[in-house]
Structures are given as C-alpha cells and as structure tokens.
C-alpha cells in the first residue's frame, strides 16, 4: 500500500477516528483491577499479533488476536475490549506500513467495541465467570464472536476494495477469506475459554491457553517446511538423473507441470494431483537402467536394444516401488508408454485398461518431447505439436486428456524449454533418437 488513493486515506482516517471516539466516550465504569486485566490481555494481543503468519506471499496476514479481544469483551466490557484492540499499535511486526498499522489499530478497536456491545445487548454478563455462567453465556458469546468476525471482514474488505488498484495489493481469494473467517471464529472460541479460566488461574489463563495453540501452529509450519524440502530434493535428484542425457534436461519437470495442468483441467482431486506431480517428476527414472549406448544410438535399434528401451518403465517402477506413494503414481510410471490402441509397452494395455495417471503422463510426455530441441530436429512450434497430439488422439493418446491439455495450454500458455547450448565436452552425449517423440518413432531393424 505504498501510494493510497484519497478515498482509502479518508476511510482509514474514519476508522481511526471512530476508534478514538468509542474509547474517549467510555464509560469507564469498570472496577479498578480491570486495568491489570486490560494490560495483560493487551500484552496477549501484541504477542499474537507479532507472530502473525501470512496466508501466502503477498496475501493477507492473520493472527489469533481475536482470542484476546473477545476475552476482553467478556471480562472487561466493550470499552475495555476496544482498549485491548488498540494495543495492535504496539505490534512488533515489521511488515506493515504506518498507514496499515493505523488502520489495523483502529479496525481492531472498533471491531472489539462492537463485539462487546453485541455481547452486552444479548444480555451477556460482563465480568469474571463462575460455574453458573455456563451454558447461558455460550449464546451471547457466539453472537458476539460472529459480530466480531463479520465487522472485521467488512472493514478489511472495505480497505482492500478502496486500495484495489494500488500496486502490490493482490486480490485475496474467496477461499482464503473464508478460511480466515473460520479460523478467526475458532480462535474467538478460545477467548471464552480464557475468560472462563480467568476465574481459576487469573492472568495465567492466556498463557495456558496459548501454549497448545502456538504448538499447533508450530506443528503445521513444520509440516509445510518438510513438504517444501521434500519437493526440492525430489526435483534436484530428478535433475541428477537427467544430466546423463543432455537434450532432456528439465523434461521431468515440464512433464510434471503438464500433467498437473491436465489434472486440474479435468478437476482431479487435490491429493491425486500431488501424486501425479511426483509421478511426472519420476516417470523416466528407469531410463538409468537402459545402457547409455542404446539411448544414444544413431542408427536403427536391434530387437534387443528396443526391448531394453521398452523395459525402462518397469525399471522405473523397481526404483520407486518402495516410496510410500499412492499406488496410482506407481501405475502411472509403469504404464506411461502404453497406447490407447494397445500397441504400446511394456504390457500392451488398451483403452480404459491403462491407468488414468499413465494416460495423462503420456500426453504431457509426448508434447514436451515434440516442443524440445532434439539432435535430429529443432523444437516444433506449439501449434504444430498440438496438431500432432490431435492427430494421434484416439490411437496413441486418450482424446479427453488431449482436449484438456490443449484447453489448459490455450489458457495458461506453455513454457518452452530454452534451446540447449552445447558445452565442448558434452558433444559426445547426444542421443540421436527420443523414445518419447511420437512423430519420429524409434527405428527398429525389421527382423523379418
């Protein structure tokens, strides 16, 4: 939000002014020890605000500060809650600009105040809870929490709408906002728990409640980090496998991306898309089992050599079998050279007998081969490769996946590989044929 429009500035100023007004008008009719409670809850808010996480880069960030403001709404009433919300100003987060910080502060104060008012209006009793408060308090609290989340949503939506043309603010997805909504409601529920525990352990309540919450977030972060590490490692190792064959560098990666494009286009379920992505990365691993000499042969292949090439999907399966993948990914790797008409290898399956993953991989695999430079021909233009795919649809490829792929390419485009630049010492490793290229089938010596 580097340069804001006047409307946005005005909007932010209005929110801040509203916050100042509700705090200034009071009434400050709470007991004296409430100041201690407000301070502790404010501290809690600063801590949770300072540990906010971004939903995704450049996206909205969110934090469990709803917990603190809603607990305050119950324990110290609307004005106290507004004061706690105003503590957002002390956030230790470095990211937000002064304008963002001012808006966040004003917004949290106003939101907390309204939630507190709603709680009182619903006949919720402000103050420390006791055994008799349950379950009567749950109704008013739930309405207050909902009001809190909705006001928050509306105020943030307003500023995003006014600042929508400013460079740097990406549009937040509907799904992302919904997720924030629900997690905020969840965190809000913990506000009631803090309020309930306040009776028993006093100011230790937030500490106790927040430990499990922070550990839960830590665990989720650990998982995400491990997942990233895993993907990076698989990618690097696949590249290692490819270094052997100069022309096919990046092939696995592109096949993986192409397969995912097809999968998304046909609306495949998320976890299957993930498995398919790995299957794409690993689909040619078995080529390592084929002697380099055969892969790089210039002339026609003998029957034995052709058999060695036909075995590479099986070799690939041997290598990746022990990885705890979905079985589907394994089947995809094994059958990615089957043809719809049953003339493929290694099993000669036809039509629907071929696993879905394999049919998807086959399309992406052939397409990338055709649009890449080979020693015996240059890279074909995308249109020509699409025409070629269409030509073989129904005999070699599943027409449905060809259509899906073409549609996806039309929309998203296709990043073609850079033409390879040969280094001096690499001239020797130039393969003269490509087993993936449907337009130039492997030449096999006719035994008859």
């Amino acid at each position: 939000m580097a340069r804001l429009s006047w409307a946005a500035r005005l909007y932010i100023a209005a929110v801040v002014a509203a916050a100042a007004a509700v705090i200034a008008w009071g009434p400050f009719t709470f007991p004296s020890n409430s100041w201690r409670d407000i301070a502790i809850l404010g501290l809690l808010l600063v801590v949770s605000e300072s540990t906010a996480t971004r939903l995704s880069p450049g996206d909205l960030s969110w934090s469990p500060n709803t917990t603190a403001t809603l607990a305050a709404a119950v324990l110290v009433g609307p004005v106290g809650a507004a004061l706690v919300g105003a503590c957002t100003a002390f956030s230790l987060r470095r990211g937000p600009s002064p304008a963002q910080r001012a808006f966040n502060t004003g917004m949290m104060a106003v939101t907390a105040y309204i939630a507190g008012r709603v709680f009182v209006a619903m006949h919720g009793h402000v103050g420390v809870l006791n055994v008799n408060s349950f379950p009567g308090i749950i109704g008013p609290f739930a309405v207050a929490a909902l009001a809190h989340v909705l006001v928050n949503y509306a105020l943030v939506g307003g500023v995003l709408w006014l600042a929508r043309n400013v460079e740097g603010t990406t549009r937040t997805s509907q799904a992302g906002m919904t997720r924030v909504l629900f997690s905020d409601l969840g965190y809000g529920a913990f506000g009631l728990l803090i309020a309930a525990l306040w009776t028993v352990v006093g100011p230790f309540a937030p500490l106790l409640v927040l430990i499990p919450l922070f550990v839960a977030r830590w665990a989720v972060a650990q998982f995400a980090e491990q997942q990233r590490a895993y993907e990076a490692t698989v990618g690097a190792l696949c590249q290692a496998v490819e270094t052997k064959d100069f022309y096919t560098r990046g092939h696995s990666d592109r096949v993986s991306r192409g397969s995912v494009m097809i999968a998304r286009e046909i609306g495949m379920r998320g976890d299957r898309v993930e498995a398919l992505r790995y299957a794409g990365m690993l689909h040619d691993v078995g080529k390592l089992g084929v002697p380099t000499m055969v892969l790089q042969k210039t002339g026609k292949l003998t029957e034995e050599e052709y058999a060695a090439i036909q075995l590479h999907p099986m070799r690939g399966l041997d290598i990746v079998r022990e990885i705890g993948f979905l079985d589907e990914a394994l089947a995809g790797i094994m059958h990615h050279h089957e043809r719809i008409d049953g003339r493929g290898y290694p099993m000669g399956l036809a039509g629907d007998e071929i696993p879905e993953f394999a049919r998807v991989l086959a399309v992406a695999d052939a397409f990338d081969s055709m649009t890449s430079t080979r020693s015996y021909r240059g890279a074909r233009p995308t249109d020509e490769a699409i025409a070629e795919l269409r030509k073989w649809a129904g005999t070699q490829f599943d027409p449905a996946f060809v259509d899906a792929f073409v549609a996806a390419i039309k929309r998203e485009g296709w990043q073609r590989p850079e033409p390879p630049v040969l280094a001096a010492d690499e001239l020797a490793t130039v393969p003269a044929q490509d087993h993936d290229d449907p337009s130039a089938p492997l030449r096999v010596i006719d035994s008859l």
Binding site: F134, L197, P212, A219, F223, Q226, A240, T292
Partner: protein
C-alpha cells in the same frame, strides 16, 4: 515402523535387551496393586472416571509415530495427567484416589490399544508402560494433596504445584524413553536424553498445558472441558502425523533414488544402503545427535550420486580403487546435485568432502600439516565416517565373514596415519565386531 522392526531382526547388533521388559513388569506390578486397591474401595465418582477413561482410550487409539520411531499418545497422556491433577469438577470436589487414577489410565490405555492389535499393529507395551509410570508418579504425589484445604483455597499454590508436577512428569517420560533408546540402539544416554527432550519439547509443552487446562477448566465448565481443550492438541497431532509421514516418504525417496546408481550399474547392488546403515551405527557410537545423524544418513545414501554425472560407469563402482582426483571430482559432482535442492546444504558439504584425507601430509618433510594452534580445517566428522564406512564396504561388500571383516578393519587402521579418522575407524570396528560376534 514395521520396516524398523524388520531392520532390527535383520541386524542382530541392534537386538533389544532386558530394559524394556523390566519397565513393563514394573508398570504391570503397580497396575495390579492399584486395581486391587480400587476394587477393594470401589470407584469414586464413576461418571468422571468413565469420561477420563474414554478420553485416554481415544488418545491411545490416535497414537502418533514421530520421527525416529518414537511413539507417543499426546491426547491420552494429557487426559491421564489431567485426571491425576483434578481438584474440582463443577461444584464437587474430586476425591478419587491415586490407585483409581492408575486403574482408569491403564484401563483406558488397554482399551485404546485393542484397535491397534485388531488391525495387526504391535501393542507397544513399553510406550504404554512409560506413560503409565509418569501418570502414576504424579497421581501418588498429588492425590493426597488435592483434598488439602490450603491447595483447594489457594489457586496460586495449586497452579504452581500442578505446573511443576506436570513438568516433572514430562521430564520423567523423556528420561525413561532415553533409557529405552540406550537399551535398544546402543546410543549414549546423554545424547539420547538431549535428543529426546529437543524432539519432545514442543509436544510436551502442549500436552502439559492441555492437562492443566483440562484440570482447571473442569472446575468452571465441568466435563465439557475435556472435549474443548483436546481440540488444539488434536490439530497439533494431525499436523505432526502428516509431518512424520512426509519425513518417512522423504527418506524412502532418497533411498530409492540412491538405488538409481545401482540399477545404472555404477555401484554394487545394496552398496548405498549398507554404507548408510554402517555410517549411522558408527555415528551413533560416536555420540552424534539425531538431527545430524539424519543428515549423515542422507549423505551416506547419496554419497555416490555424483557418479550419475559420469558418462560411463566405473567398473565395479568401487570408488576407493579410483584415483583420488577422480574421487574428489565425483564427490564434487554429487555435492552439486544435492546443493540444487537448497535445503540440504550440510548434506552437500558432507558429500563434497567425503574423500578428503583425515590429515594432510607435507610432501616435502613427510610430516603432518597440522595447524600450529591445533585447529584443523579438516573434513566434518560425518564425512570422515562415510569415508571409513565406504572403504569398509568396498572391501567387504555384503559378506559377514569375520575373517574378511577383521582384515578390512586392519587395513583401515593401517591407513589412519593419513586417510582415515582413527576415532571413526575404532567406532566402526566396535560396530562390526558386535555384528559378527552375534552372527557366530
């Protein structure tokens, strides 16, 4: 996990000793005594007992396998600790005895273990015994105090007492688990304890806090507290389960892709796997901590990955029979590959330096080129371990013949003048001796 057990059976130097049995028997005796006592006096406040028992059983069903074959049941343990620390449920004071806590916890655990047995997973008695002992210790200290007027009235006193007991229980759990590890894997106790605490600290904090929350909240909210405060622990558990899953897949993938060199004919079949097992055993013998042990395992599995960049396989693939410059080059190529992953920086470093000699020798004088201040910029310990393990496997292969093993170790010892780290070689000698002694 089944794979782990498989390994144990295959590698006799890792057989379990009697420590586990001792622990299970101790917990069993305690349990029998408590059940007898409870049966004699009858169940106090059965509704609460059943609610907590159900929570413990539920937690036991949702057991979690953390990296390093650590089993834990966070929800179950939190429930059991909360039951031991309970002071008041709603308007009623909690008057159940310590015996009853042990009985309820044990029954809950056993009921929760039944589904695991039904689907053919092991019952994991030792883990249950550890948890039961921790809960029992807390219960026997706190139950008599829970009825005390001072504790009931003074919330601050109760809070500090309960907090310290929860911390003590979790420390006890770490110590017992570390002892089991020492027993099982011949790790050093101090190393095992530090690893255990580091790994379990976040989860332990969440378990302890949840136990306290349930115990306190029961006073205000009654038994609803059980369901409410289990929720964050469940989120943690789901995330950690997925984390452990992806870590296992990670290791399997690295293992599988390390086999690429074997299928490509670059190295002997099984070489990477054997070197990695041996290197990890040696590393553990030398007291390497678990995170570094994992890096060592990755590096050992991928130590030959650089050969993939070669045009043609080296015959036999045994890299100690190749010229040192070529070895260095292959190691460098492999490190470059790993470096591309960007997340395995130290693994790449280990692989890069796996062939460096332990000591540099001045070609002019024939003396060591040690730095005067004693600080040497030598290869990292993990590289030295891989160097020794790799050389050992090149000489011995999959053979378990004691004569051949002894000859290989002797050869390595002779080369400690320059090539191999004497400490690593001695540790390796101990590891392979254990293996061959049991084999005979």
């Amino acid at each position: 996990m089944t794979e782990r057990r498989h390994e144990l059976r295959r590698y006799p130097w890792q057989v379990r000793d009697s420590g586990q049995l001792l622990l299970v028997v101790a917990a069993g005796v305690w349990l029998v005594a408590s059940v007898a006592q409870t049966a004699a006096t009858g169940l106090t406040d059965p509704r609460t007992a059943i609610a907590f028992g159900a929570l413990i059983a539920f937690g036991e069903v949702l057991r979690l396998n953390l990296p390093g074959d650590r089993e834990s049941a966070p929800v179950g343990l939190a429930g059991a600790l909360a039951y031991a620390l309970l002071i008041q449920v709603g308007h009623h004071q909690a008057k159940h005895s310590a015996h009853q806590v042990v009985t309820v916890a044990a029954v809950g655990m056993i009921v929760g273990a039944l589904p695991h047995l039904a689907v053919g997973r092991p019952a994991r008695l030792s883990g249950m015994a550890v948890r039961l002992l921790c809960v029992a210790c807390v219960a026997y200290i706190f139950r008599p105090l829970a009825g005390n007027a001072a504790v009931v009235r003074d919330a601050g006193l109760a809070f500090s007492l309960m907090t310290s007991l929860a911390i003590a229980a979790l420390l006890l759990e770490a110590v017992l688990n570390a002892l089991l590890r020492v027993d099982e894997q011949r790790a050093r106790f101090k190393v095992a304890l530090v690893d255990e605490m580091r790994l379990q600290l976040p989860l332990g904090a969440a378990v302890g806090a949840s136990a306290l929350l349930i115990a306190f909240a029961a006073e205000v909210m009654g038994l609803a507290a059980l369901a409410v405060f289990t929720a964050p622990l469940l989120v943690t558990q789901v995330a950690l389960r997925r984390y452990a899953g992806i870590r296992a897949t990670y290791l399997q993938t690295v293992r599988a892709l390390a086999k690429v060199t074997e299928i490509g004919g670059y190295v002997e079949p099984g070489h990477s796997e054997r070197v990695s097992r041996l290197a990890v055993a040696v590393g553990r013998e030398l007291g390497i901590h678990e995170p570094q042990l994992l890096e060592l395992e990755y590096a050992a599995l991928m130590h030959d990955i650089g050969q993939l960049s070669l045009r043609d396989p080296i015959t036999g693939g045994a890299t100690i029979f190749v010229s040192p410059t070529d070895q260095q080059r292959i190691a460098g190529l492999g490190a470059d590959v790993i470096q591309q992953a960007q997340v395995l920086g130290s693994v790449a470093e280990i692989v890069r330096r796996q062939n460096e000699p332990y000591r540099d020798i001045d070609p002019a004088t024939g003396g060591y080129l040690d730095h005067p201040d004693g600080e040497r910029d030598g290869p990292p310990l993990s590289s030295r371990i891989i160097k020794a393990a790799n050389a050992f496997d090149d000489m011995v292969g999959s053979s378990l013949d004691p004569g051949r093993t002894a000859a290989a170790v002797h050869q390595l010892r002779l080369d400690t003048v320059r090539e191999y780290d004497p400490e690593a070689v001695e540790a390796l000698s101990r590891v392979v001796n254990r293996r061959s002694v049991i084999q005979m």
